[in-house]
Structure formats: structure tokens, C-alpha cells
């Protein structure tokens, strides 16, 4: 972890353009017509050759969605979204199953090259299995054989629907019901693809699982659906990272991630989110309204969320843990960086139901430019949560004088033996620290990156190594132009 700032600046310099990943790949898309109605839901389901129960579930969700209104309680100024003025399904044209990467559309592979994540290299060097989600349909899955040896299932959820319908049917919507919230309900109706992971009893997944998401076709909402199930005494670490191409129209991203941990199981879920944030004037950028929730069903189970949120015009995201099991553990480590006109409202919910369940929340919010950044956290101790404990620490760092940071901790306790601790700090980037760095020859932007990386260290340390390096670079890149 010693190379951060120098590399950051190297990276920043090499970018030239403000946003490196702003390009659109020209692959013919197969699209459903614009708009949203029952026929579109049926179209999606039919395109994926889904069983009747899933179509019925989608339709129930859609009907429910029509009765709902968008939430407006978050501290966000969200422009009206016209849900009828968007495409809900697009797929890269070639659709036959692929045996190897050689069969993948070369243009697609080139896209990944530009993103700096060549699949081949990933495969050879990193030992990471990559389930590449491109424009809602998974096109390449690697390392399947090795995972299969251990009985691990890691595949597109559309494939899991075909191959493991019982598992999907049992757990889909079990953590985030289709009635949950406006965006999750919408996702339930129109989700196109995503990842499915199943770790059988006693298995420690032999590699980090990774998925790269990418929004591509113009004006297409992206509705990923991820489901991870860890059976008794199993372990898995899942990495999710994303970049998106530059464009002017706002794009909606409403993913749902559900995690299920049974007795003594552990799931570590890490995200680096770097979607297009809009330009310096606040034009364009992704709307990121994601529902992520994990259920620690089993005793002594553990779910740990780590997120580095640097992209998107608007982020609305609260990865949460439902701590059912006795002695279960929930963790949330977060870095949220907003610059220019970005807005983030993020945090977590820790719902303690099991006795002696524990949770730990470390949130680092950084705002620069005219951005706003809010931490919103709920810690709930239900009657069964005897001797449960929570520790929350929220630190906000402000760069410049036009940005804002807010902390909204909600605490509800229905058990007198439960203990909740909350600490919060807000500080400005320290002039003495900046001057000290500059006196040593470190330029202002690199100095800010260095100091901010230090501020975030506790969270960065939670990331798997290959993500940590990338995340440190991102911290610098996303604060570009925030000083001087």
C-alpha cells in the first residue's frame, strides 16, 4: 500500500482527458422498444426464456411498482425521471454460448482493454474469475471449471434460472422482497441479468469472484440483479467494479444485490463504483439507486460490505445487514467521494435481531467542489437482540468551501441490554498538512490525494489487494481539479 499518491498522479497525468472511460462501443444492440408496460416485462422474460413463476413474480412486482411513488426523503435534488422515455432491454447481438474468450466479439474485448481490465490478463495474472456483464447480458465467464471442482456456482443469474431454478426460486427476493422500495421493485420487474453465486457447505471459495459492470447502450437503464448464497461454514469474497461511458443524458442504474449467509458462513462484498459522474458543470452522469442487503440468517454468520463510491451524478445506496443469527456480525466500510456537482446519500442499515449480534460501521465521506455528501445510517435493536452491540464512526472531510457534508444517524433500540455507540467528525482538509506535503515537493493535487487516502485508510485496508491499488488511484482521479 506504499505506492498510492505517486501512482495516482501518474494516472491522473496519463489521462489527458477528464474522464478516461468515456467511449461507446459500437456493437449492434437488440433492443426492446422504448417505455415500460406489462408487454415489456413479458418481452424481457421471454427473451430470456424464463419459467412461468419468474414471469409471474416480475408481473407482480410491476403491478406493485405502478402503485408506488419515487422516494423523495433522501437529501438529494433528483430531477424528474421519465420512465417511459427509456429502453429496458438491450443485448449484444451474438448470443450463442461461448466456449472460450476467442469467441467473444473482438470489439467487446477491446472495450475491456480500454478499461484496463483485459480478461486474458485477469485470467492469467490475477487468478480472478471474471463474469463480465456487458450491457445487461453476460458474455464471458472464466474459471468455471476450477470453481465447479469445489462445487461453487458462479454464473449469470439468467443461466442460474435455467440450471438451478430451485435455488433461485428459494432465495430470489428473500432478502429484498419485490415490494421493498420503488427502485428495487422496478428492478424486480425488469432486471435483465447479473450474477449468481452459490458456495456449498464448508467450502472456502478458492478465488476472489469479480464482476465488471458496464453501462453501454445509449439511454438504457441498467437493472442488475445479484444473488449470493453462502451455505454453512463457507466463505466467499466478491468484488464488483464499474466504469461507464461518457454521455449527456442521465442514466438510471437500479441494481439489487441480495446476500444470504447461513450458520458460520462469511460473505465479503467489495465495490469500487466509478460511473460517469457528469461533467464539471453537473451535466450528465449516472443515477445510481441501488438496493444492497445481506441476511445473516445463521448463527455466527458474517457479512461485510466495503464500498468505494467515487462516480455517478447521484448515488442513493444503503448496503445493509439483517442480523438474524445469534452472534452474527455485520460490517459496513465506506468511502464516498463527491466532486463538482455530484450528490451522494449513502450509509447503511444494521438491523439486530439475534442475541449478541454485532455491527461495525466506518464511513468516510469526502466532498469537494459544489458536491454534497450525506451519511444516513440506521441502527435498529429489536427485542431479541440481547447484548447486541453497534459501533458507528462517521468522518467527513471537506475540500473547499462550497461543498457540504451531513450526517443522519437514526438509532432505534427496543432492547435495554443492547449498546449503540456513534462517533462523528467533520473536518476541512488541513492547510498545515497540505503545506507540509508541498514543502517536500509534492504538488497540490497529489498532496490532496495522499492526505485523502490517509483519511480513508481504515476502509481501503478492507479491500482485497488488487482493488485497493485501483481504489487509491480512483481517490486521486475523482478529486482532480478540486484544489487551486
Amino acid at each position: 500500500m506504499s505506492r498510492i499518491a505517486a501512482e495516482t498522479v501518474e494516472q491522473v497525468r496519463s489521462l489527458g482527458d477528464r474522464y478516461k472511460y468515456g467511449f461507446v462501443t459500437d456493437i449492434e444492440s437488440e433492443q426492446a422498444p422504448k417505455g415500460l408496460n406489462e408487454d415489456i416485462v413479458r418481452f424481457i422474460s421471454a427473451a430470456k426464456d424464463e419459467p412461468g413463476w419468474l414471469l409471474a413474480w416480475r408481473l407482480e412486482a410491476f403491478r406493485h411498482w405502478r402503485t408506488m411513488t419515487e422516494p423523495n426523503w433522501a437529501k438529494l435534488g433528483i430531477p424528474m425521471i421519465d420512465y417511459q422515455d427509456a429502453y429496458y432491454y438491450s443485448a449484444p447481438k451474438q448470443k450463442e454460448a461461448l466456449k472460450s474468450l476467442d469467441e467473444v466479439d473482438p470489439e467487446l474485448l477491446a472495450t475491456y482493454d480500454k478499461l484496463g481490465i483485459p480478461l486474458r490478463e485477469q485470467e492469467m495474472l490475477a487468478g480472478v474469475a471474471v463474469d463480465a456483464v456487458f450491457d445487461s447480458v453476460s458474455v464471458a465467464t472464466t474459471f468455471k471449471a476450477k470453481l465447479e471442482e469445489h462445487g461453487v456456482i458462479f454464473c449469470p443469474i439468467s443461466e442460474a434460472v435455467q440450471k438451478y431454478p430451485d435455488l433461485v426460486r428459494k432465495y430470489l427476493g428473500s432478502v429484498v422482497p419485490y415490494t421493498d422500495n420503488f427502485f428495487a421493485t422496478l428492478n424486480s420487474a425488469v432486471f435483465t441479468d447479473g450474477s449468481f453465486v452459490f458456495i456449498p457447505k464448508g467450502v472456502r471459495c478458492p478465488m476472489e469472484l469479480s464482476t465488471y459492470f458496464r453501462i453501454n447502450a445509449a439511454n438504457t437503464g441498467q437493472f442488475e440483479r445479484t444473488l449470493i448464497i453462502a451455505e454453512d461454514s463457507s466463505y466467499v469474497s466478491y468484488l464488483e467494479g464499474c466504469t461507464a461511458p461518457m454521455r449527456d443524458e442521465h442514466q438510471l442504474h437500479a441494481a439489487v444485490v441480495e446476500l444470504v449467509a447461513l450458520d458460520d458462513a462469511e460473505i465479503k462484498y467489495s465495490t469500487v463504483q466509478n460511473w460517469y459522474p457528469g461533467d464539471e458543470n453537473g451535466v450528465g452522469g449516472i443515477f445510481n439507486f441501488v438496493t444492497k442487503r445481506g441476511a445473516c440468517i445463521g448463527a455466527r454468520s458474517k457479512i461485510s460490505w466495503t464500498q468505494v463510491e467515487t462516480g455517478s451524478a447521484i448515488t442513493w445506496k444503503y448496503p445493509s445487514c439483517m442480523l438474524h443469527g445469534a452472534d452474527s456480525v455485520g460490517e459496513f466500510y465506506s468511502i464516498a467521494i463527491t466532486n463538482n456537482y455530484q450528490q451522494a446519500d449513502t450509509g447503511t442499515k444494521m438491523v439486530h435481531m439475534g442475541p449478541r449480534s454485532r455491527s461495525r460501521v466506518i464511513s468516510k465521506g469526502i466532498s469537494a467542489g459544489r458536491a454534497s455528501n450525506a451519511y444516513r445510517g440506521l441502527v435498529k435493536m429489536l427485542p431479541g437482540a440481547g447484548k447486541a452491540r453497534n459501533y458507528t464512526q462517521c468522518d467527513s472531510l471537506l475540500i473547499g468551501s462550497k461543498c457540504g457534508a451531513h450526517t443522519f444517524p437514526y438509532i432505534e433500540s427496543q432492547n435495554r441490554s443492547a449498546r449503540v455507540e456513534h462517533e462523528a467528525t467533520t473536518s476541512k482538509i488541513d492547510d498545515d498538512q497540505l503545506f507540509y506535503c508541498r514543502q517536500r515537493g509534492i504538488g497540490e493535487e497529489e498532496a490532496v490525494a495522499l492526505i485523502v487516502n490517509g483519511f480513508c485508510r481504515e476502509v481501503l485496508q478492507q479491500l482485497p489487494m488488487e482493488f485497493a491499488v485501483e481504489a487509491q488511484k480512483l481517490v486521486g482521479i475523482s478529486l482532480e481539479g478540486s484544489v487551486g
Binding site: 500500500m1 506504499s2 505517486a6 503545506f435 508541498r438 514543502q439 517536500r440 515537493g441 495522499l450 480513508c456
Partner: protein
């Protein structure tokens, strides 16, 4: 190497330096002494370009260039180094990381190659050992929880690693134990070279026993009130500043 001419500077509208004249040649070591609050640190901040320190009059030439128009980091990569009177803590940033970032920034700006991790480690370990700095200290966050003496030693380490051409040491000897004082003095002496100059701000003669300066200056009331050879330090030690101050009044 350094030419300060009639330098007037103020902080928050309050005049602190009132016409400082000082010239330091390559290869020379000058000591600056003076009562508390006389403007010694202010001078070091003005020279290194700290924000909030306004230059109202005068000029400073560094190798014939106008030093005052450069940004702090430009001055640093041009070879100016300030060992801070109060080194700053940077939580979460490892001492090694910081050193490496600084060294690479300096090397880059001089058109040189960055050191790889192994080369860097070798350089730092060797210099750290000479200053009695252990690996555990290098692993900790920069200055966070360091004792006063450890912070000063860390400043010396940075000085040794960055190899500046003009080093300003602001009370680097304060807060050091007797052994550490010797180590720091040895460090300074080891860095003495024909193309390097040093400005050593100190309150104590005992440092100057180890580092024999070419010139000693008394800065008081925002000006250099007296200059002399190394014997001036002994005189001050014996008599204090009263005489000089009353002469100036």
C-alpha cells in the same frame, strides 16, 4: 546561493519582518538566533512560500532566481528544504509512503527516474539507521503519536533522503535528548558540502558546539540586528539579548 534583501513580511496584516538582509553562500552554514516571537519561523515560512505570509517589500534570490514567485512545491524541487519547528501529523499516511512520494516527486521534476520499491527501501533504511530510527517508526503514520524528539529525527531523515541544496532547520535541536542532539549534529555535518547551504535556527549554543557555523545572526524585532562569527553565539549564551535589543531601541 541565497540573497535576502530588505525583506518585509506580515501575517494577517501585522508586520513581522521589518527589513531582513541576509546572504548565504554555497557551502556555508549560518545560524539564526533570537528571542521568542522575533520572526525566525516567519522568515522560514516566507522563504518556503507558506500561504498567509505576505511579502510587503524586498526580494529573495535563490541561485539568482526570484524565489518568491515560485509555488512551495517548486521551491522544494528546486532544492529548498524546511525542517519544521512543529512537524505536521498526517493520519493514515505511512512515513515510508510519504518519503517515497516526496522523493519521487523531486526526482521526477529533475527529469530523473523514480526509484523502485527495493532501491528506495535500501536508501531509507541506511539513512534511518544513521539517525537511530527503527523500522517500526517508518511503518507508522507520518508523525502521528511520535514523541517530540522522534518528530525532529524524522525531519532529519527527510532532509537526508531528499538531499536539498538549501536546508533551513527551524529549532530541530529543541526537544532532543543529548544523544539525539549529537546524532542530528552529525547528520547536519555529514550533509555539509561545497554546493549546499544551511540556515540553522536555534536557541542554544550547545548545537553550535557540534555544528560550527560560518556566521551567526541575531534576528530580533523583525530584523537582523547583529551578525558575527561563531563566537557571537558564545557571547549571546553568556549575556542574553538585552544589550542588542537596547542598542536597537
Amino acid at each position: 546561493m541565497l540573497e535576502i534583501r530588505d525583506l518585509h513580511a506580515s501575517v494577517e496584516g501585522q508586520a513581522i519582518l521589518n527589513g531582513v538582509d541576509l546572504s548565504v553562500g554555497a557551502g556555508e552554514v549560518h545560524a539564526v538566533m533570537g528571542p521568542n516571537g522575533s520572526g525566525k519561523s516567519t522568515l522560514s515560512y516566507v522563504l518556503s512560500g507558506r500561504e498567509g505570509y505576505a511579502v510587503d517589500r524586498g526580494e529573495v534570490l535563490y541561485d539568482g532566481r526570484d524565489l518568491l514567485e515560485l509555488e512551495p512545491e517548486e521551491r522544494a524541487v528546486a532544492g529548498l528544504f524546511l525542517a519544521f519547528q512543529y512537524p505536521v501529523e498526517i493520519p493514515g499516511v505511512g512515513t515510508m509512503t510519504f518519503l517515497r512520494t516526496a522523493l519521487n516527486a523531486v526526482r521526477r521534476s529533475r527529469g530523473g527516474d523514480e526509484l523502485d520499491a527495493m532501491q528506495f527501501l535500501r536508501v531509507v533504511r541506511e539513512k534511518a539507521r544513521a539517525l537511530g530510527i527503527g523500522d517500526d517508526m517508518l511503518k507508522r503514520a507520518l508523525n502521528v503519536g511520535f514523541s517530540g524528539g522522534e518528530k525532529k529525527r524524522n525531519e532529519m531523515l527527510q532532509l537526508a533522503v531528499l538531499e536539498p541544496r538549501l536546508a533551513i532547520l527551524d529549532e530541530t535541536d529543541s526537544g532532543l535528548d543529548i544523544d539525539a542532539l549529537k546524532i542530528v549534529a552529525e547528520g547536519v555535518n555529514a550533509l555539509r558540502s561545497p554546493d549546499r547551504a544551511m540556515l540553522i535556527i536555534t536557541h542554544y549554543q550547545r548545537l553550535l558546539d557540534h555544528i560550527v557555523p560560518d556566521r551567526v545572526h541575531v534576528l530580533a524585532k523583525g530584523r537582523i540586528l547583529r551578525s558575527g562569527g561563531s563566537e557571537l553565539a558564545h557571547e549571546l549564551e553568556a549575556k542574553g539579548y538585552a544589550e542588542i535589543l537596547s542598542e536597537a531601541a
